[in-house]
Protein backbone atom coordinates (compact mmCIF):
# COMPACT_ATOMS: atom_id res chain seq x y z
CA UNK A 1 0.00 0.00 0.00
CA UNK A 2 1.03 3.58 -0.42
CA UNK A 3 2.12 5.74 2.49
CA UNK A 4 3.11 9.34 3.06
CA UNK A 5 5.41 10.44 5.88
CA UNK A 6 6.35 14.02 6.67
CA UNK A 7 9.84 14.41 8.06
CA UNK A 8 10.71 17.32 10.38
CA UNK A 9 11.67 20.66 9.02
CA UNK A 10 15.47 20.99 9.00
CA UNK A 11 16.93 24.37 8.09
CA UNK A 12 14.12 25.50 5.83
CA UNK A 13 13.89 22.13 4.13
CA UNK A 14 11.01 19.73 4.67
CA UNK A 15 10.81 16.24 3.26
CA UNK A 16 7.73 14.27 2.30
CA UNK A 17 8.54 10.61 1.88
CA UNK A 18 6.24 8.65 -0.38
CA UNK A 19 6.47 4.90 -0.46
CA UNK A 20 4.75 1.82 -1.75
CA UNK A 21 2.42 1.49 -4.70
CA UNK A 22 0.91 4.72 -5.99
CA UNK A 23 -2.11 3.86 -8.12
CA UNK A 24 -5.65 5.07 -8.62
CA UNK A 25 -6.94 2.98 -5.72
CA UNK A 26 -4.29 3.92 -3.16
CA UNK A 27 -3.51 7.59 -3.72
CA UNK A 28 -6.95 8.89 -2.76
CA UNK A 29 -6.23 9.05 0.98
CA UNK A 30 -2.75 10.49 0.36
CA UNK A 31 -4.11 13.44 -1.53
CA UNK A 32 -5.41 15.34 1.50
CA UNK A 33 -2.26 14.48 3.49
CA UNK A 34 -0.08 15.89 0.74
CA UNK A 35 -2.05 19.11 0.68
CA UNK A 36 -1.83 19.40 4.45
CA UNK A 37 1.94 18.94 4.26
CA UNK A 38 2.24 21.65 1.62
CA UNK A 39 0.11 24.02 3.66
CA UNK A 40 2.11 23.28 6.81
CA UNK A 41 5.33 24.46 5.17
CA UNK A 42 4.39 27.53 3.16
CA UNK A 43 7.86 29.09 3.33
CA UNK A 44 10.31 26.21 3.23
CA UNK A 45 11.61 24.17 0.35
CA UNK A 46 9.85 20.84 0.06
CA UNK A 47 11.50 17.69 -1.15
CA UNK A 48 9.23 14.82 -2.16
CA UNK A 49 11.33 11.74 -1.66
CA UNK A 50 10.10 9.01 -4.00
CA UNK A 51 13.02 6.62 -3.62
CA UNK A 52 10.82 4.04 -1.93
CA UNK A 53 8.00 4.19 -4.45
CA UNK A 54 7.68 0.74 -6.08
CA UNK A 55 5.03 1.60 -8.59
CA UNK A 56 3.58 4.85 -9.80
CA UNK A 57 0.92 4.97 -12.50
CA UNK A 58 -1.11 7.79 -13.96
CA UNK A 59 -2.90 8.55 -10.71
CA UNK A 60 0.37 8.56 -8.77
CA UNK A 61 1.89 10.90 -11.31
CA UNK A 62 -1.21 13.07 -10.96
CA UNK A 63 -0.51 13.35 -7.23
CA UNK A 64 3.07 14.50 -7.92
CA UNK A 65 1.88 16.93 -10.59
CA UNK A 66 -0.71 18.27 -8.19
CA UNK A 67 2.01 19.05 -5.65
CA UNK A 68 4.24 20.60 -8.29
CA UNK A 69 1.52 22.81 -9.72
CA UNK A 70 0.68 24.56 -6.45
CA UNK A 71 1.55 28.24 -6.45
CA UNK A 72 4.46 28.71 -4.01
CA UNK A 73 7.20 31.32 -3.60
CA UNK A 74 10.34 30.68 -5.65
CA UNK A 75 12.49 29.82 -2.64
CA UNK A 76 9.91 27.33 -1.38
CA UNK A 77 9.51 25.21 -4.47
CA UNK A 78 8.52 21.54 -4.46
CA UNK A 79 11.11 19.15 -5.75
CA UNK A 80 10.65 15.49 -6.67
CA UNK A 81 13.64 13.33 -5.86
CA UNK A 82 14.52 9.72 -6.27
CA UNK A 83 11.68 8.73 -8.58
CA UNK A 84 12.69 5.67 -10.59
CA UNK A 85 13.60 6.54 -14.16
CA UNK A 86 10.66 4.80 -15.78
CA UNK A 87 8.20 6.71 -13.61
CA UNK A 88 10.14 9.96 -14.04
CA UNK A 89 9.54 9.62 -17.78
CA UNK A 90 5.80 9.53 -17.15
CA UNK A 91 6.05 12.62 -15.00
CA UNK A 92 8.15 14.46 -17.59
CA UNK A 93 5.30 14.26 -20.08
CA UNK A 94 3.39 16.87 -18.15
CA UNK A 95 3.98 20.52 -17.55
CA UNK A 96 2.68 21.19 -14.02
CA UNK A 97 2.55 24.93 -14.66
CA UNK A 98 0.21 24.43 -17.62
CA UNK A 99 -1.98 22.18 -15.50
CA UNK A 100 -1.99 24.79 -12.73
CA UNK A 101 -4.28 26.99 -14.77
CA UNK A 102 -7.81 26.22 -13.80
CA UNK A 103 -9.51 23.83 -16.15
CA UNK A 104 -11.43 25.76 -18.79
CA UNK A 105 -14.76 26.22 -17.13
CA UNK A 106 -17.98 25.65 -18.95
CA UNK A 107 -19.45 28.88 -20.28
CA UNK A 108 -21.10 30.89 -17.48
CA UNK A 109 -24.90 30.87 -17.53
CA UNK A 110 -26.27 33.58 -19.77
CA UNK A 111 -28.18 36.51 -18.21
CA UNK A 112 -31.94 36.15 -17.84
CA UNK A 113 -32.81 38.42 -20.76
CA UNK A 114 -30.59 36.42 -23.10
CA UNK A 115 -32.07 33.15 -21.92
CA UNK A 116 -35.65 34.40 -22.35
CA UNK A 117 -34.73 35.66 -25.79
CA UNK A 118 -33.13 32.36 -26.73
CA UNK A 119 -36.09 30.37 -25.44
CA UNK A 120 -38.43 32.61 -27.46
CA UNK A 121 -36.29 32.18 -30.55
CA UNK A 122 -36.32 28.42 -30.01
CA UNK A 123 -40.11 28.33 -29.81
CA UNK A 124 -40.37 30.39 -32.99
CA UNK A 125 -37.79 28.23 -34.75
CA UNK A 126 -39.71 25.13 -33.67
CA UNK A 127 -42.94 26.62 -34.99
CA UNK A 128 -41.18 27.48 -38.24
CA UNK A 129 -39.85 23.93 -38.50
CA UNK A 130 -43.32 22.57 -37.81
CA UNK A 131 -44.90 24.68 -40.54
CA UNK A 132 -42.10 23.91 -43.00
CA UNK A 133 -42.38 20.23 -42.21
CA UNK A 134 -46.17 20.37 -42.56
CA UNK A 135 -45.75 21.83 -46.03
CA UNK A 136 -43.09 19.32 -47.00
CA UNK A 137 -45.10 16.39 -45.67
CA UNK A 138 -48.29 17.63 -47.33
CA UNK A 139 -46.47 17.97 -50.65
CA UNK A 140 -44.96 14.51 -50.26
CA UNK A 141 -48.37 13.04 -49.35
CA UNK A 142 -50.03 14.75 -52.29
CA UNK A 143 -47.30 13.40 -54.53
CA UNK A 144 -47.78 9.93 -53.07
CA UNK A 145 -51.54 10.05 -53.70
CA UNK A 146 -50.95 11.04 -57.32
CA UNK A 147 -48.24 8.42 -57.75
CA UNK A 148 -49.30 5.52 -55.53
CA UNK A 149 -46.75 3.27 -57.19
CA UNK A 150 -43.97 5.45 -55.76
CA UNK A 151 -44.95 4.68 -52.17
CA UNK A 152 -43.00 1.91 -50.48
CA UNK A 153 -46.05 -0.13 -49.56
CA UNK A 154 -43.99 -2.97 -48.11
CA UNK A 155 -42.52 -0.58 -45.51
CA UNK A 156 -45.95 0.91 -44.92
CA UNK A 157 -47.40 -2.57 -44.28
CA UNK A 158 -44.66 -3.41 -41.81
CA UNK A 159 -45.28 -0.14 -39.97
CA UNK A 160 -49.05 -0.67 -40.08
CA UNK A 161 -48.61 -4.06 -38.47
CA UNK A 162 -46.39 -2.64 -35.75
CA UNK A 163 -48.51 0.45 -35.09
CA UNK A 164 -51.92 -1.13 -35.65
CA UNK A 165 -52.19 -4.88 -35.21
CA UNK A 166 -49.67 -5.07 -32.40
CA UNK A 167 -51.50 -2.28 -30.55
CA UNK A 168 -54.74 -4.29 -30.31
CA UNK A 169 -54.09 -5.85 -26.87
CA UNK A 170 -53.27 -2.60 -25.11
CA UNK A 171 -56.12 -0.75 -26.84
CA UNK A 172 -58.49 -3.55 -25.79
CA UNK A 173 -57.24 -3.43 -22.22
CA UNK A 174 -57.61 0.32 -21.81
CA UNK A 175 -60.89 0.41 -23.78
CA UNK A 176 -62.41 -2.29 -21.61
CA UNK A 177 -61.22 -0.57 -18.44
CA UNK A 178 -62.62 2.75 -19.59
CA UNK A 179 -66.03 1.19 -20.37
CA UNK A 180 -66.19 -0.64 -17.07
CA UNK A 181 -65.16 2.34 -14.95
CA UNK A 182 -67.42 4.78 -16.73
CA UNK A 183 -70.41 2.45 -16.56
CA UNK A 184 -69.86 1.52 -12.95
CA UNK A 185 -69.34 5.05 -11.64
CA UNK A 186 -72.30 6.51 -13.49
CA UNK A 187 -74.53 3.56 -12.61
CA UNK A 188 -73.84 4.15 -8.91
CA UNK A 189 -74.73 7.82 -9.28
CA UNK A 190 -77.92 7.06 -11.23
CA UNK A 191 -79.14 4.17 -9.13
CA UNK A 192 -80.94 6.37 -6.53
CA UNK A 193 -83.03 7.79 -9.39
CA UNK A 194 -83.69 4.37 -10.88
CA UNK A 195 -82.05 5.59 -14.08
CA UNK A 196 -79.40 2.90 -14.56
CA UNK A 197 -80.67 2.18 -18.05
CA UNK A 198 -79.55 5.62 -19.21
CA UNK A 199 -75.98 4.68 -18.46
CA UNK A 200 -76.11 3.14 -21.94
CA UNK A 201 -76.83 6.58 -23.42
CA UNK A 202 -74.01 8.21 -21.53
CA UNK A 203 -71.55 5.49 -22.29
CA UNK A 204 -72.22 5.17 -26.00
CA UNK A 205 -72.18 8.91 -26.57
CA UNK A 206 -69.05 9.53 -24.52
CA UNK A 207 -67.13 6.60 -26.00
CA UNK A 208 -68.05 7.12 -29.64
CA UNK A 209 -67.66 10.90 -29.69
CA UNK A 210 -64.80 11.54 -27.33
CA UNK A 211 -63.17 8.88 -25.25
CA UNK A 212 -62.63 6.19 -27.88
CA UNK A 213 -60.76 8.43 -30.33
CA UNK A 214 -58.97 10.36 -27.58
CA UNK A 215 -57.73 7.34 -25.68
CA UNK A 216 -56.66 5.48 -28.81
CA UNK A 217 -54.82 8.56 -30.03
CA UNK A 218 -52.95 8.92 -26.74
CA UNK A 219 -51.98 5.24 -26.88
CA UNK A 220 -50.83 5.64 -30.47
CA UNK A 221 -48.75 8.67 -29.49
CA UNK A 222 -47.14 6.73 -26.66
CA UNK A 223 -46.48 3.62 -28.72
CA UNK A 224 -45.93 4.65 -32.30
CA UNK A 225 -45.17 8.37 -32.10
CA UNK A 226 -42.30 7.57 -29.77
CA UNK A 227 -41.23 4.60 -31.91
CA UNK A 228 -41.16 6.71 -35.08
CA UNK A 229 -39.08 9.39 -33.36
CA UNK A 230 -36.66 6.84 -31.90
CA UNK A 231 -36.27 4.89 -35.14
CA UNK A 232 -35.78 7.92 -37.38
CA UNK A 233 -33.65 9.56 -34.68
CA UNK A 234 -31.32 6.56 -34.55
CA UNK A 235 -31.15 6.58 -38.33
CA UNK A 236 -30.19 10.24 -38.13
CA UNK A 237 -27.48 9.52 -35.55
CA UNK A 238 -26.12 6.67 -37.70
CA UNK A 239 -26.04 8.97 -40.74
CA UNK A 240 -28.63 6.76 -42.47
CA UNK A 241 -30.72 9.84 -43.18
CA UNK A 242 -27.67 11.47 -44.78
CA UNK A 243 -27.20 8.35 -46.88
CA UNK A 244 -30.79 8.61 -48.13
CA UNK A 245 -30.27 12.26 -49.00
CA UNK A 246 -27.09 11.62 -50.98
CA UNK A 247 -28.79 8.79 -52.84
CA UNK A 248 -31.25 11.41 -53.99
CA UNK A 249 -34.06 9.95 -51.89
CA UNK A 250 -36.06 12.53 -50.02
CA UNK A 251 -36.17 11.44 -46.35
CA UNK A 252 -39.65 12.93 -46.00
CA UNK A 253 -40.98 10.91 -48.91
CA UNK A 254 -39.06 7.81 -47.93
CA UNK A 255 -39.55 7.75 -44.16
CA UNK A 256 -42.42 10.07 -43.32
CA UNK A 257 -45.01 9.27 -45.99
CA UNK A 258 -45.05 5.56 -45.22
CA UNK A 259 -45.39 6.18 -41.49
CA UNK A 260 -48.08 8.84 -41.80
CA UNK A 261 -50.10 6.72 -44.22
CA UNK A 262 -49.77 3.60 -42.07
CA UNK A 263 -50.62 5.31 -38.78
CA UNK A 264 -53.54 7.24 -40.25
CA UNK A 265 -54.95 4.12 -41.85
CA UNK A 266 -54.54 2.11 -38.66
CA UNK A 267 -56.02 4.54 -36.15
CA UNK A 268 -59.52 4.19 -37.63
CA UNK A 269 -59.92 0.43 -37.06
CA UNK A 270 -58.22 0.87 -33.68
CA UNK A 271 -60.83 3.45 -32.65
CA UNK A 272 -63.70 1.23 -33.84
CA UNK A 273 -62.18 -1.60 -31.85
CA UNK A 274 -61.75 0.56 -28.74
CA UNK A 275 -65.37 1.77 -29.03
CA UNK A 276 -66.70 -1.78 -29.27
CA UNK A 277 -64.61 -3.13 -26.42
CA UNK A 278 -65.54 -0.14 -24.24
CA UNK A 279 -69.24 -0.69 -24.91
CA UNK A 280 -68.80 -4.38 -24.15
CA UNK A 281 -67.19 -3.55 -20.81
CA UNK A 282 -70.09 -1.26 -20.02
CA UNK A 283 -72.56 -3.97 -20.97
CA UNK A 284 -70.96 -6.41 -18.55
CA UNK A 285 -71.26 -3.90 -15.71
CA UNK A 286 -74.89 -3.26 -16.65
CA UNK A 287 -75.60 -6.98 -16.41
CA UNK A 288 -74.59 -6.82 -12.77
CA UNK A 289 -77.12 -3.99 -12.36
CA UNK A 290 -79.81 -6.28 -13.81
CA UNK A 291 -80.00 -4.53 -17.18
CA UNK A 292 -80.14 -7.24 -19.84
CA UNK A 293 -77.89 -7.01 -22.90
CA UNK A 294 -80.84 -6.53 -25.25
CA UNK A 295 -82.12 -3.50 -23.34
CA UNK A 296 -78.64 -2.01 -23.16
CA UNK A 297 -78.16 -2.49 -26.88
CA UNK A 298 -81.53 -1.02 -27.83
CA UNK A 299 -81.01 1.96 -25.58
CA UNK A 300 -77.53 2.69 -26.97
CA UNK A 301 -78.52 2.27 -30.60
CA UNK A 302 -81.67 4.35 -30.34
CA UNK A 303 -79.87 7.20 -28.62
CA UNK A 304 -76.65 7.60 -30.60
CA UNK A 305 -76.67 8.72 -34.18
CA UNK A 306 -74.38 7.53 -36.94
CA UNK A 307 -73.07 11.09 -37.08
CA UNK A 308 -71.67 10.73 -33.55
CA UNK A 309 -69.77 7.65 -34.58
CA UNK A 310 -68.51 9.13 -37.85
CA UNK A 311 -67.54 12.39 -36.14
CA UNK A 312 -65.32 10.44 -33.79
CA UNK A 313 -63.71 8.61 -36.68
CA UNK A 314 -63.12 11.83 -38.63
CA UNK A 315 -61.43 13.30 -35.59
CA UNK A 316 -59.25 10.24 -35.14
CA UNK A 317 -58.04 10.49 -38.74
CA UNK A 318 -56.62 13.91 -37.96
CA UNK A 319 -55.14 12.60 -34.72
CA UNK A 320 -53.34 9.81 -36.56
CA UNK A 321 -51.97 12.23 -39.14
CA UNK A 322 -50.63 14.57 -36.46
CA UNK A 323 -49.18 11.89 -34.20
CA UNK A 324 -47.26 10.21 -37.02
CA UNK A 325 -46.21 13.55 -38.46
CA UNK A 326 -44.89 15.00 -35.22
CA UNK A 327 -43.18 11.68 -34.37
CA UNK A 328 -41.32 11.75 -37.68
CA UNK A 329 -40.53 15.45 -37.33
CA UNK A 330 -38.98 14.94 -33.90
CA UNK A 331 -37.01 12.01 -35.28
CA UNK A 332 -35.63 14.10 -38.11
CA UNK A 333 -34.75 16.89 -35.66
CA UNK A 334 -32.61 14.53 -33.55
CA UNK A 335 -29.12 15.78 -32.84
CA UNK A 336 -26.25 13.40 -32.19
CA UNK A 337 -25.86 10.87 -29.41
CA UNK A 338 -27.93 8.36 -27.52
CA UNK A 339 -29.40 11.00 -25.21
CA UNK A 340 -30.70 12.96 -28.20
CA UNK A 341 -32.77 9.96 -29.33
CA UNK A 342 -34.38 9.81 -25.89
CA UNK A 343 -35.15 13.52 -26.00
CA UNK A 344 -36.73 13.14 -29.45
CA UNK A 345 -38.92 10.23 -28.32
CA UNK A 346 -40.07 12.14 -25.24
CA UNK A 347 -40.73 15.24 -27.26
CA UNK A 348 -42.70 13.24 -29.84
CA UNK A 349 -45.07 11.92 -27.16
CA UNK A 350 -45.49 15.27 -25.44
CA UNK A 351 -46.03 17.20 -28.69
CA UNK A 352 -48.36 14.46 -29.90
CA UNK A 353 -50.57 14.66 -26.82
CA UNK A 354 -50.62 18.47 -26.85
CA UNK A 355 -51.69 18.41 -30.51
CA UNK A 356 -54.39 15.84 -29.74
CA UNK A 357 -55.84 18.05 -27.03
CA UNK A 358 -55.73 21.19 -29.17
CA UNK A 359 -57.31 19.49 -32.17
CA UNK A 360 -59.95 17.85 -29.99
CA UNK A 361 -60.90 21.31 -28.72
CA UNK A 362 -61.13 22.64 -32.26
CA UNK A 363 -63.34 19.72 -33.27
CA UNK A 364 -65.62 20.28 -30.29
CA UNK A 365 -66.21 23.89 -31.32
CA UNK A 366 -66.62 22.88 -34.95
CA UNK A 367 -69.17 20.18 -34.15
CA UNK A 368 -71.06 22.59 -31.91
CA UNK A 369 -71.45 25.19 -34.64
CA UNK A 370 -72.20 22.59 -37.29
CA UNK A 371 -74.79 21.25 -34.88
CA UNK A 372 -73.53 17.70 -35.24
Amino acid sequence: MAALALQPDAGGLATIALSGRLDAYSVGPLWAQAHDALRAHPRSKLVVDCSRVDYCDGAGVALLVDMLRQARPADAAVEIRGLAGRFQKLLDQFDPKALAAAAPAAAPPAPLVARVGRAGARVLADLYALVAFLGEAAAALAYALRHPRGVRWRDALRIAEEAGVNALPIVALIGFLMGVILAFQSAIAMKPFGAELFVANLLSLALLRELGPLMTAILLAGRSGAAFAAEIGTMKVNQEVDALTTMGLDPVRFLVVTRVLAATAMIVPLVVFADLIGLLGGALVMLSFDIPLQAYYNQAVSYTRVADFLGGLAKSLVFGLLIAGVGCLRGLQTETGAAAVGISATSAVVSGIVLIVVVDGIFAVLFYYLDL
Binding site: G28, D57, G58, L63, K89, Q93, A98, L99, A338
Partner: protein, 255 residues
Protein backbone atom coordinates in the same frame (compact mmCIF):
# COMPACT_ATOMS: atom_id res chain seq x y z
CA UNK B 1 6.67 -17.84 -22.48
CA UNK B 2 7.72 -17.31 -18.92
CA UNK B 3 5.01 -15.07 -17.59
CA UNK B 4 1.84 -15.01 -19.69
CA UNK B 5 -0.77 -12.53 -18.45
CA UNK B 6 -3.38 -13.72 -20.94
CA UNK B 7 -3.76 -17.35 -21.84
CA UNK B 8 -6.30 -18.50 -24.41
CA UNK B 9 -6.84 -22.24 -24.48
CA UNK B 10 -8.71 -24.05 -27.26
CA UNK B 11 -11.21 -21.22 -27.46
CA UNK B 12 -14.16 -21.74 -29.76
CA UNK B 13 -16.08 -18.57 -30.51
CA UNK B 14 -19.22 -17.83 -32.43
CA UNK B 15 -22.96 -17.67 -31.97
CA UNK B 16 -25.05 -20.81 -31.79
CA UNK B 17 -24.30 -22.90 -34.88
CA UNK B 18 -22.11 -20.25 -36.44
CA UNK B 19 -18.55 -21.05 -35.37
CA UNK B 20 -16.05 -18.32 -36.16
CA UNK B 21 -12.94 -19.81 -34.57
CA UNK B 22 -12.74 -23.49 -33.88
CA UNK B 23 -9.86 -23.93 -31.51
CA UNK B 24 -7.72 -20.90 -30.86
CA UNK B 25 -4.83 -21.02 -28.41
CA UNK B 26 -2.22 -18.38 -27.73
CA UNK B 27 -0.51 -16.55 -24.93
CA UNK B 28 0.28 -12.92 -24.33
CA UNK B 29 3.25 -12.08 -22.15
CA UNK B 30 3.26 -9.40 -19.49
CA UNK B 31 4.25 -6.05 -20.99
CA UNK B 32 3.90 -7.29 -24.52
CA UNK B 33 2.26 -5.43 -27.38
CA UNK B 34 0.30 -8.18 -29.03
CA UNK B 35 -1.54 -7.69 -32.29
CA UNK B 36 -4.50 -9.60 -33.70
CA UNK B 37 -4.61 -9.46 -37.47
CA UNK B 38 -6.77 -10.83 -40.18
CA UNK B 39 -8.87 -9.90 -43.14
CA UNK B 40 -12.13 -8.07 -42.66
CA UNK B 41 -14.85 -10.32 -41.30
CA UNK B 42 -12.57 -12.98 -39.85
CA UNK B 43 -13.90 -12.33 -36.35
CA UNK B 44 -11.14 -10.33 -34.71
CA UNK B 45 -13.59 -8.27 -32.70
CA UNK B 46 -15.57 -11.37 -31.74
CA UNK B 47 -12.38 -12.99 -30.45
CA UNK B 48 -11.57 -9.85 -28.49
CA UNK B 49 -15.04 -9.61 -27.03
CA UNK B 50 -14.94 -13.28 -26.07
CA UNK B 51 -11.60 -12.70 -24.34
CA UNK B 52 -13.01 -9.86 -22.23
CA UNK B 53 -16.17 -11.76 -21.32
CA UNK B 54 -18.74 -9.93 -23.44
CA UNK B 55 -19.55 -13.03 -25.46
CA UNK B 56 -19.59 -16.47 -23.84
CA UNK B 57 -17.11 -18.93 -25.38
CA UNK B 58 -18.64 -21.99 -27.07
CA UNK B 59 -15.78 -24.08 -25.69
CA UNK B 60 -12.36 -23.60 -24.17
CA UNK B 61 -11.40 -20.68 -21.99
CA UNK B 62 -9.63 -17.35 -21.92
CA UNK B 63 -7.66 -16.61 -18.76
CA UNK B 64 -6.75 -13.08 -17.76
CA UNK B 65 -4.06 -13.13 -15.09
CA UNK B 66 -5.04 -16.71 -14.36
CA UNK B 67 -8.76 -16.01 -13.93
CA UNK B 68 -11.48 -17.13 -16.30
CA UNK B 69 -13.75 -14.14 -16.83
CA UNK B 70 -16.49 -16.17 -18.52
CA UNK B 71 -16.96 -18.25 -15.38
CA UNK B 72 -16.38 -15.53 -12.80
CA UNK B 73 -19.16 -13.44 -11.37
CA UNK B 74 -19.73 -10.87 -8.67
CA UNK B 75 -16.61 -9.57 -6.98
CA UNK B 76 -14.28 -11.95 -8.83
CA UNK B 77 -15.53 -10.69 -12.17
CA UNK B 78 -15.19 -7.08 -11.09
CA UNK B 79 -11.64 -7.73 -9.97
CA UNK B 80 -10.77 -8.99 -13.45
CA UNK B 81 -12.59 -6.12 -15.15
CA UNK B 82 -10.66 -3.57 -13.10
CA UNK B 83 -7.44 -4.97 -14.51
CA UNK B 84 -8.46 -4.35 -18.10
CA UNK B 85 -9.37 -1.30 -20.13
CA UNK B 86 -11.09 -1.53 -23.49
CA UNK B 87 -11.27 0.88 -26.38
CA UNK B 88 -14.12 -0.01 -28.71
CA UNK B 89 -13.97 0.38 -32.44
CA UNK B 90 -16.38 3.31 -32.56
CA UNK B 91 -15.28 4.88 -29.31
CA UNK B 92 -18.42 4.08 -27.31
CA UNK B 93 -18.12 7.32 -25.40
CA UNK B 94 -21.14 8.24 -23.32
CA UNK B 95 -22.91 10.93 -25.31
CA UNK B 96 -24.56 12.52 -22.32
CA UNK B 97 -21.24 13.32 -20.63
CA UNK B 98 -18.31 15.53 -21.50
CA UNK B 99 -14.98 13.92 -22.37
CA UNK B 100 -13.68 14.69 -18.88
CA UNK B 101 -16.89 13.19 -17.47
CA UNK B 102 -16.32 10.02 -19.48
CA UNK B 103 -12.86 9.58 -17.97
CA UNK B 104 -14.05 10.55 -14.51
CA UNK B 105 -16.80 7.94 -14.48
CA UNK B 106 -14.60 4.92 -13.57
CA UNK B 107 -12.60 7.09 -11.16
CA UNK B 108 -15.78 8.20 -9.42
CA UNK B 109 -17.09 4.65 -9.19
CA UNK B 110 -13.95 2.83 -8.12
CA UNK B 111 -11.54 5.15 -6.35
CA UNK B 112 -11.47 7.41 -3.32
CA UNK B 113 -9.83 10.29 -5.14
CA UNK B 114 -10.98 13.77 -4.11
CA UNK B 115 -12.92 15.79 -6.65
CA UNK B 116 -10.14 18.04 -7.92
CA UNK B 117 -7.80 15.06 -8.10
CA UNK B 118 -10.24 13.34 -10.48
CA UNK B 119 -10.35 16.50 -12.57
CA UNK B 120 -6.57 16.54 -12.69
CA UNK B 121 -6.31 12.87 -13.63
CA UNK B 122 -8.91 13.39 -16.37
CA UNK B 123 -6.99 16.38 -17.74
CA UNK B 124 -3.72 14.47 -17.68
CA UNK B 125 -5.23 11.50 -19.48
CA UNK B 126 -6.59 13.81 -22.13
CA UNK B 127 -3.20 15.46 -22.43
CA UNK B 128 -1.62 12.03 -22.96
CA UNK B 129 -3.73 11.60 -26.08
CA UNK B 130 -3.21 15.21 -27.19
CA UNK B 131 -6.70 16.33 -26.30
CA UNK B 132 -5.72 19.02 -23.78
CA UNK B 133 -8.47 21.56 -23.32
CA UNK B 134 -11.11 19.31 -24.87
CA UNK B 135 -12.44 18.07 -21.52
CA UNK B 136 -15.55 20.21 -21.58
CA UNK B 137 -16.63 19.08 -25.04
CA UNK B 138 -19.21 16.37 -25.52
CA UNK B 139 -18.69 13.43 -27.92
CA UNK B 140 -21.16 15.05 -30.33
CA UNK B 141 -18.86 18.04 -30.74
CA UNK B 142 -15.63 16.26 -31.67
CA UNK B 143 -14.28 14.52 -34.75
CA UNK B 144 -13.96 10.78 -35.25
CA UNK B 145 -10.22 10.83 -34.60
CA UNK B 146 -10.67 12.77 -31.39
CA UNK B 147 -13.32 10.29 -30.37
CA UNK B 148 -10.85 7.40 -30.73
CA UNK B 149 -8.22 9.17 -28.69
CA UNK B 150 -10.73 10.10 -26.00
CA UNK B 151 -11.82 6.45 -25.89
CA UNK B 152 -8.22 5.38 -25.35
CA UNK B 153 -7.90 7.93 -22.57
CA UNK B 154 -11.01 6.49 -20.94
CA UNK B 155 -9.75 2.93 -21.31
CA UNK B 156 -6.67 3.98 -19.35
CA UNK B 157 -8.49 5.97 -16.68
CA UNK B 158 -7.69 3.44 -13.97
CA UNK B 159 -4.26 2.52 -15.39
CA UNK B 160 -5.19 -1.09 -16.01
CA UNK B 161 -2.62 -3.86 -16.50
CA UNK B 162 -4.03 -4.80 -19.88
CA UNK B 163 -5.47 -2.46 -22.46
CA UNK B 164 -7.47 -3.87 -25.38
CA UNK B 165 -7.59 -1.59 -28.40
CA UNK B 166 -9.97 -2.38 -31.25
CA UNK B 167 -8.54 -0.64 -34.33
CA UNK B 168 -7.00 2.34 -32.54
CA UNK B 169 -5.50 3.95 -35.61
CA UNK B 170 -8.37 3.39 -38.03
CA UNK B 171 -9.56 6.77 -39.22
CA UNK B 172 -6.62 8.69 -37.78
CA UNK B 173 -4.24 10.77 -39.84
CA UNK B 174 -0.69 9.37 -40.17
CA UNK B 175 0.78 11.87 -37.71
CA UNK B 176 -1.74 11.23 -34.98
CA UNK B 177 -1.49 7.53 -35.67
CA UNK B 178 2.30 7.63 -35.26
CA UNK B 179 1.92 9.62 -32.05
CA UNK B 180 -0.49 6.99 -30.80
CA UNK B 181 2.11 4.31 -31.52
CA UNK B 182 4.63 6.31 -29.48
CA UNK B 183 2.11 6.62 -26.68
CA UNK B 184 1.53 2.87 -26.60
CA UNK B 185 5.26 2.15 -26.51
CA UNK B 186 5.86 4.77 -23.81
CA UNK B 187 3.10 3.39 -21.60
CA UNK B 188 4.40 -0.12 -22.05
CA UNK B 189 7.95 0.97 -21.19
CA UNK B 190 7.04 3.01 -18.13
CA UNK B 191 4.08 1.14 -16.66
CA UNK B 192 4.54 -2.29 -18.12
CA UNK B 193 1.02 -2.21 -19.54
CA UNK B 194 0.17 -5.10 -21.82
CA UNK B 195 -1.56 -4.13 -25.04
CA UNK B 196 -3.76 -6.35 -27.16
CA UNK B 197 -4.35 -4.46 -30.38
CA UNK B 198 -6.56 -5.25 -33.33
CA UNK B 199 -5.15 -3.41 -36.29
CA UNK B 200 -5.04 -3.25 -40.05
CA UNK B 201 -2.40 -0.55 -40.25
CA UNK B 202 0.75 -2.30 -41.35
CA UNK B 203 2.99 0.67 -40.52
CA UNK B 204 1.61 0.81 -37.01
CA UNK B 205 1.83 -2.96 -36.67
CA UNK B 206 5.54 -3.06 -37.51
CA UNK B 207 6.19 -0.11 -35.23
CA UNK B 208 4.56 -1.43 -32.09
CA UNK B 209 3.78 -5.14 -32.14
CA UNK B 210 6.18 -7.57 -30.48
CA UNK B 211 4.19 -10.51 -31.69
CA UNK B 212 1.02 -11.08 -33.58
CA UNK B 213 -1.43 -13.75 -34.59
CA UNK B 214 -3.21 -13.79 -37.87
CA UNK B 215 -6.75 -15.16 -38.09
CA UNK B 216 -8.41 -16.52 -41.15
CA UNK B 217 -12.07 -17.05 -41.82
CA UNK B 218 -11.71 -20.16 -43.94
CA UNK B 219 -9.28 -21.80 -41.52
CA UNK B 220 -11.47 -20.79 -38.54
CA UNK B 221 -8.41 -20.05 -36.51
CA UNK B 222 -4.84 -18.88 -36.41
CA UNK B 223 -2.83 -19.28 -39.60
CA UNK B 224 0.32 -17.54 -38.41
CA UNK B 225 1.91 -16.52 -35.16
CA UNK B 226 5.16 -14.69 -34.54
CA UNK B 227 7.03 -11.43 -35.00
CA UNK B 228 5.47 -9.26 -37.73
CA UNK B 229 8.73 -8.69 -39.64
CA UNK B 230 9.56 -12.40 -39.68
CA UNK B 231 6.10 -13.33 -40.87
CA UNK B 232 6.35 -10.77 -43.63
CA UNK B 233 9.62 -12.10 -44.93
CA UNK B 234 9.66 -15.78 -44.06
CA UNK B 235 6.14 -17.08 -43.60
CA UNK B 236 5.56 -20.32 -45.48
CA UNK B 237 1.92 -19.36 -45.96
CA UNK B 238 1.45 -17.23 -49.11
CA UNK B 239 -1.73 -15.73 -47.70
CA UNK B 240 0.23 -14.33 -44.76
CA UNK B 241 2.98 -12.90 -46.95
CA UNK B 242 0.31 -11.38 -49.14
CA UNK B 243 -1.31 -9.69 -46.16
CA UNK B 244 1.93 -8.30 -44.81
CA UNK B 245 3.08 -7.08 -48.19
CA UNK B 246 -0.28 -5.54 -48.96
CA UNK B 247 -0.88 -7.38 -52.23
CA UNK B 248 -4.29 -7.77 -53.82
CA UNK B 249 -5.74 -11.20 -54.45
CA UNK B 250 -4.13 -12.36 -57.73
CA UNK B 251 -6.57 -11.68 -60.51
CA UNK B 252 -9.08 -10.04 -58.14
CA UNK B 253 -9.26 -6.93 -60.29
CA UNK B 254 -8.67 -7.42 -63.97
CA UNK B 255 -6.02 -4.93 -64.94
Amino acid sequence: MSDPIIRVENLRTGFGDLVLHDSVSFEVGRGEVFAILGGSGCGKTVLLKTMIGLYPPLAGRALIAGADIARADGAARLAILQRIGVMYQLGALFGSMTLAGNIRLPLEEYTALPDDAMDLVARMKLELVQLQGAGTLTPAEISGGMMKRAAIARAMALDPDIVFLDEPSGGLDPITSAELDQLILRLRASLGITFVVITHELASLFAIADRCIMLDRAAKGIIAEGKPAELRDHSPNPKVRQFFNRMAEPGAVAA
